[in-house]
């Protein structure tokens, strides 16, 4: 038995030169210290992305991207297809958990200043991945063509439309027309299953490659101390797998007890239901737009907020270059405070969205 395995490996190795890869994995070391807990979130995010690809491919088997049939096909998946409820619930729930994990991953990287030289590009590709996954969320949300997603998309694209200069054009591009219609559904479907996966896959490859080449960053305050190391394979991978196992149990429990709802079919002629909200990870921006006064000085409040978010995003993306101190391996409390403020802002605004009535 063992011999067959060895022969098979030799056969493959002679052709694919796998040994080098194994050697790399075996010799690669991962630092282990009190903050290394945060290292695992990247792996979890990667694992959940894998689940998304697998369940997404399976949903494609029964989903129909047309406004006549989209909602019905989801209903069909949830009721008629064996384990359809499970596959779809896993896809929807994992999408949300994934975005949550990405936020944790991002903030832990930020607070540990792991973005500092030479890992600037890892940070920037990570930032792009967050944007891409939020775009995944936004486009996927419309696909079941239900009331909530329909109106959330209308509101969301209206916001994009209020951008100065490019707003109108951008809204038209996203919608594929002037309103949320079949063209929009086709487009969102195209984004969700073709364009975004391709883009995300490319960026993930670069991101993971950079992590492999550069190794894990050690927190600033430990740089002069001797840090224990464990081997990447199999020790770190096993620990990673333990994290994945735990998250799988979580996904299983929520999917069985709270299967994702189908909702009412979208009716373009119905009045907008009260309290329409986007998915939770957009709410901090959404609520800001609602709370900001209609005019701040000489410009429209909404436009100001959108511009502020864009400027904030660019600042956030360029943090490795702006944080000169961290780049020189010195503590940078200013950036820690910026991170705390940003985190607090997002948390407070999100909590406000769900707790303040009639917002």
């Amino acid at each position: 038995m063992k011999k067959i395995g060895q022969n098979l490996f030799t056969y493959v190795d002679e052709r694919f030169k796998l040994q080098g890869l194994f050697d790399f994995a075996k010799h690669k070391k991962v630092p282990e210290h009190e903050d290394s807990f945060w290292y695992y979130f990247g792996g979890i995010a990667l694992f959940l992305s894998g689940i998304q690809v697998a369940t997404g491919i399976m949903l494609l088997l029964y989903y129909t991207p047309s406004i006549e049939a989209a909602h019905e096909s989801i209903q069909f998946i949830m009721s008629q297809v064996k384990f359809g409820w499970l596959i779809r619930s896993v896809h929807s729930w994992t999408a949300n958990i994934l975005i949550g994990i990405l936020f944790v991953h991002m903030f832990s990287t930020f607070f540990l200043k792991a973005y500092r030289k030479p890992r600037e590009l890892t940070w920037i590709t990570g930032f792009f991945l967050l944007i891409l996954f939020m775009a995944f969320g936004f486009s996927g949300y419309l696909l079941p063509w239900n009331e909530l997603s329909y109106f959330a998309t209308r509101v969301g694209t209206d916001i994009a439309g209020s951008l100065p200069f490019i707003g109108k054009w951008l809204k038209g591009f996203i919608l594929g027309g002037t309103s949320v219609s079949q063209a929009t559904l086709s487009r969102f479907f195209w984004f969700h299953v073709a364009l975004l996966p391709l883009a995300a896959f490319t960026v993930i490859v670069i991101h993971v490659l950079l992590v492999q080449i550069l190794g894990m960053s050690v927190p600033l305050r430990l740089k002069d101390k001797k840090v224990k190391e464990i081997s990447f394979f199999p020790d770190f991978i096993y620990k990673d797998a333990l994290g994945w196992t735990l998250i799988l149990v979580l996904v299983g429990v929520v999917c069985v007890f709270l299967p994702w709802e189908v909702g009412k079919k979208a009716d373009p002629f119905a009045a907008t239901p009260l309290g329409i909200k986007p998915e939770w990870y957009f709410t901090f921006m959404f609520t800001t737009l609602k709370l900001i006064p209609s005019h701040v000085l000489f410009i429209e409040g909404e436009q100001l907020a959108i511009l502020a978010f864009m400027a904030g995003g660019i600042f956030w993306m360029l943090a490795p270059f702006l944080d000169r101190k961290a780049a020189r391996e010195r503590p940078s409390p200013v950036f820690t405070w910026i991170g705390i403020i940003v985190l607090l802002y997002i948390v407070v605004m999100t909590v406000v969205t769900y707790t303040v009535p009639k917002l």
């Binding site: 009721s79 008629q80 409820w85 199999p234 149990v249 299983g252 069985v256």
Partner: protein
């Protein structure tokens, strides 16, 4: 700034335009617009009046000559002035009973309002000289008369109860007549008022649907059944074939009203059947009689079937709460409900066999739904079981990983 003043000026000038148009050839308006309070009111409110929309002016009802500028000349011998309250019906009827004249405005408008009014309780009392009773203007207004199709008019369906109630719910006003004044409050609790006010269903009956409008009169014992049959014909048909028909006639009992009441007709439930105190059957059927026994059977039959529908419905809701899709059996259950509603209507025919036969039609579907709802619950259980198994394997795998990690650490 000047632009603003200009636009205000233009706007106010435009809004006065209709008045100005009148003023040119209507001395009635010229004068009355300048008068105070109730002498000014006609000039102001007539602009909204349906008669105005058909091109009629003051003189078409009140006579006189609006072309004349002075009051003396304008109020010539054709001038009728304001009619006395007791004369109002005839005043309106001078046009509204003239079929040839009315046809020129609206060929479909009825012209029998006055003759109907004369037969109404209001009309009869007015003839006897009682000026307190309702005349045309009490319901239709005076110089701002709207059609019954205009939602703000007092004769629009959902305003009618209040219009009648203005007098009939006023205990002081109604005192001399010795009739109760609780009709409006009672009506407001009825299933009909619920349909009218909550569901905004304009076809729901209001006061005039049963009492008539111009010929308003309380329906008599003999005619109540015919009134209800206007909307509930099948129920009336069933009742006419039932043994109750003869019994009620012999006793001089009104048909529907005996069980359902009049102004406060509530949504009928099976609580009305059976042998409890709330049941209407025991009003006549004494314990031990055949009717008493049948009343009990009726209730058991319908309640039993209803309970089964409720039970399946509840099971489906439960299964849905547990995340199982049940739209298909819920759809089938609707069919069974059709059977139950039909069977409940058949109660009016009192033929137990007919009801049994009807209910039997729903048995098969009900059984199917029962199977489906049980399957839905099983599915929910299966999901939980599956989760337990998968979680168990995952836990084992997690434990194995943990042991692996520990054993790796040791040699190092």
């Amino acid at each position: 700034m000047t632009k603003k003043i200009f636009s205000i000026a233009v706007f106010s000038a435009l809004s006065l335009l209709p008045l100005a148009a009148f003023a040119q050839k209507n001395s009635c308006l010229d004068c009355h617009s300048g008068l105070e309070a109730e002498l000014k009111a006609p000039a102001m409110s007539f602009a909204q009046d349906i008669h105005q929309q058909f091109g009629l002016t003051c003189k078409d009802c009140h006579g006189g000559n609006p072309a004349q500028a002075s009051e003396d000349k304008a109020k010539d011998k054709t001038f009728k002035g304001a009619p006395k309250r007791t004369q109002i019906p005839e005043f309106c009827a001078s046009c509204h009973s003239d079929a040839a004249y009315m046809r020129t405005f609206n060929p479909r408008l009825r012209v029998d309002q006055f003759s109907q009014y004369e037969t109404s309780k209001h009309g009869q009392l007015l003839k006897k000289g009682d000026a307190k009773v309702a005349v045309c203007t009490d319901c239709h207004g005076v110089h701002g008369i709207q059609t019954a199709k205009f939602p703000k008019s007092a004769t629009f369906p959902w305003n009618i109860p209040q219009t009648c109630g203005r007098c009939h719910a006023d205990a002081d006003y109604m005192k001399p007549y010795g009739i109760s004044t609780d009709q409006l409050t009672k009506y407001k609790d009825s299933v009909h008022a619920h349909a009218l006010f909550e569901k905004k269903d304009m076809s729901a009956p209001t006061c005039n649907s049963c009492h008539g409008n111009h010929g308003a009169f309380p329906p008599e014992v003999k005619s109540i059944g015919s009134v209800c049959r206007q909307c509930h014909p099948s129920t009336g048909e069933l009742f006419a074939k039932s043994p109750h028909k003869k019994a009620f006639d012999d006793m001089g009992q009104s048909e529907c009203e005996a069980c359902h009441g009049n102004h406060k007709i509530e949504r009928p439930t099976t609580a009305m059947l059976g042998t409890t105190d709330k049941a209407v059957c025991v009003q006549c059927h004494d314990k031990g009689s055949k009717g008493y026994q049948a009343a009990g059977e009726l209730k058991t039959l319908l309640d039993g079937f209803d309970a089964r529908i409720q039970k399946e419905g509840a099971t489906l809701v439960l299964a849905e709460k547990k995340g199982v899709e049940v739209s298909e059996p819920a759809y089938r259950l609707q069919e069974v409900n059709t059977v139950l509603v039909s069977a409940k209507n058949l109660v009016h025919g009192l033929a137990l066999d007919e009801i049994r036969k009807k209910l039997a039609e729903g048995e098969q579907t009900l059984a199917d739904v029962g199977k489906a709802s049980a399957a839905a619950l099983d599915e929910a259980k299966f999901r939980r079981k599956g989760l337990i198994i998968a979680t168990f394997f995952l836990a084992l795998f997690g434990l194995a990983l943990f042991l692996k990690i520990r054993s790796m650490r040791k040699p190092a």
